[in-house]
């Protein structure tokens, strides 16, 4: 077993060797290095062919038409293009957008920018399980709503949004529906021939493809139009200019092809690993799973270890690469805004750790992690005045703290 152990697949994944192999064929003089936009020679034609094969592989994974796939630099750019592209194209129809408080910053910050431009944005609260219901979306819809943007699977807690139901609603109201599927695509089935989503963001590096490449699905029927955010040579039918990076695109295509092939195997494995870890931790006192356990991608386990601060826990978990909802791991001093939106106390948000598993995680690694976690939590609780108070029966929510 190699240390440290990687438990941060929701942040990024290693490139699958099958993917790396394909990418390497598209770089050097001997390889497929041409500019896919070069129409006058074989180098260009070959590169274009590789790009179109990849476009079909991406489209196939979600039952879309290849012409509905636009290459971007990643899910952040896809989110920007979808949300700003719709807002800028359809602003005369209305200036209201609906999203939620647990979205990725790529969506939230884009919405903030549109607010500065005069759009109005409603940020929906999730329930305590981290779910956004179709009813909440329905209540927030207005006559001037042009777009609903929600993530398919949350990056911190792995909860799944019911995009089928929300898509039915938005379609019936003539409102566009954008879904950030960076965390879900390739890990669970998506069928855009049935699900009424108009725009969907994808990333390659969350599913064993390379970083720096993503795509935006833009529905053709009924047609969705966008104002380009990147201007230039008119690539990607004018929606996103810039020379196409053949090796990146080929990598994303292969990653999506492999994902389709291995989806069931990967999902079964993730579930078994998740259950193995949780079963070995759940008998500890005061540990809580954050987010719905049923409506959740199995590759994510987000746990709060009460009375232990997340960053100090990470310091003890030297052999484990994980992330924490604690403020201290980020530049700001606020704990995770996602966990706060679920209604978690600051204290429990500070005590949370996200484990995410993947294709290369082993049972041995899980068992090693569990041993370290139990030891570290015990040690830090011995050090914790809050644990003492809890053990003495003090209700921490009733204590008057001296804030600093």
């Amino acid at each position: 077993m190699k240390l440290p152990i990687y438990f941060d697949y929701s942040a990024t994944t290693p490139v699958d060797p099958r993917v790396a192999e394909k990418m390497m064929e598209c770089l050097t003089l001997e390889g497929n290095f041409g500019n896919p936009a070069s129409r006058s020679h074989l180098f260009g034609w070959k590169a274009e062919e590789a790009v179109e094969t990849a476009r079909k592989q991406v489209a196939d994974l979600v039952s879309a038409d290849p012409r509905e796939i636009v290459w971007t630099s990643g899910a952040t750019e896809s989110d920007n293009l979808a949300i700003k592209g719709i807002a800028h194209f359809y602003h005369k129809k209305g200036k209201h957008i609906i999203t939620s408080k647990i979205e990725h910053k790529a969506v939230l910050d884009t919405c903030r920018q549109l607010e500065r431009e005069g759009f109005e944005v409603t940020y929906l609260d999730p329930d305590s399980e981290g779910l956004i219901s179709v009813e909440r979306v329905a209540e927030a819809l207005r006559d001037d709503t042009i777009l609903v943007s929600l993530m398919h699977v949350n990056n911190e807690i792995g909860t799944i949004t019911d995009i089928d139901a929300i898509g039915e609603l938005t379609r019936s109201k003539g409102v566009f529906f954008h879904v950030d599927a960076a965390q879900s695509v390739g890990k669970m089935p998506i069928d855009l021939s049935k699900t009424k989503v108009d725009l969907m963001s994808f990333s390659a590096h969350k599913i064993y493809g390379p970083k720096g490449i993503g795509a935006l699905y833009v529905r053709r029927k009924p047609r969705v139009r966008l104002e380009a955010q990147m201007h230039g040579g008119g690539h990607e039918r004018g929606m996103r200019s810039g020379t196409l990076p053949t090796h990146q695109i080929v990598g994303m295509g292969e990653a999506f092809r492999v994902a389709q092939e291995d989806m069931q195997k990967d999902a079964d494995k993730a579930l078994a690993l998740r259950d193995r870890m949780w079963n070995a931790l759940s008998d500890m006192e005061e540990v809580h799973i954050n987010g719905s356990i049923d409506q959740r991608l199995p590759a994510n386990l987000n746990v709060s270890f009460a009375f232990v601060e997340g960053e100090s826990l990470l310091m003890s978990l030297k052999d484990l690469a994980v992330s924490s909802g604690s403020a201290c791991t980020s530049a700001s001093l606020e704990p995770s805004y996602v966990l706060r939106a679920l209604g978690l106390s600051d204290e429990l948000a500070h005590s949370s750790i996200r484990f995410s598993f993947g294709r290369f995680t082993t049972e041995e690694e899980i068992d090693h992690a569990v041993g370290q976690i139990r030891q570290a939590v015990d040690k830090l609780r011995e050090l914790s005045p809050l644990w003492d108070m809890y053990k003495d029966g003090v209700d921490l929510s009733k204590v008057e703290w001296v804030h600093h």
Binding site: S326, L386, H404
Partner: protein, 125 residues
């Protein structure tokens, strides 16, 4: 974030972890911080009849730097008079532990904790 060797040493081998009897007239207790902020420190001192800090104990909920700051200050105050301990500055702790700017508040908390413990002791007299 990379931690200094001093922080790691105190975090891995914290000095003077524990709890003293609150009701003892010679014991002063300071509890500062809030769970919402991610740090709570409880620092206790035992003061001799001559006004010298004989013993100090702490428990801390917080990041590694907060644990290290409280561990360090318990070491320092042992053997000090109350006035000496009250004059300890957070900058000395920050310097000793080589705390980065985002962790300076941990040293401030330790200074607040020792001052609160001294106040508590004085009130009991």
């Amino acid at each position: 974030m990379a931690y200094s060797e001093e922080v790691i040493d105190h975090y891995e081998n914290p000095r003077n972890v524990g709890k003293m009897d609150d009701n003892d007239a010679n014991v002063g207790t300071g509890m500062v911080g809030a769970p919402a902020c991610g740090d709570v420190m409880r620092l206790q001192i035992k003061v001799s009849d001559e006004g010298v800090i004989e013993d100090a104990k702490f428990k801390t909920y917080g990041c590694g730097s907060a644990i290290a700051s409280s561990s360090l200050i318990t070491e320092w105050v042992k053997g000090m008079s109350l006035d000496e301990a009250a004059n300890l500055k957070n900058t000395e702790i920050a310097e000793e532990l080589a705390l980065p700017p985002v962790k300076i508040h941990c040293s401030v908390l330790a200074e607040d904790a020792i001052k609160a413990a001294i106040d508590d002791y004085k009130k009991k007299q």
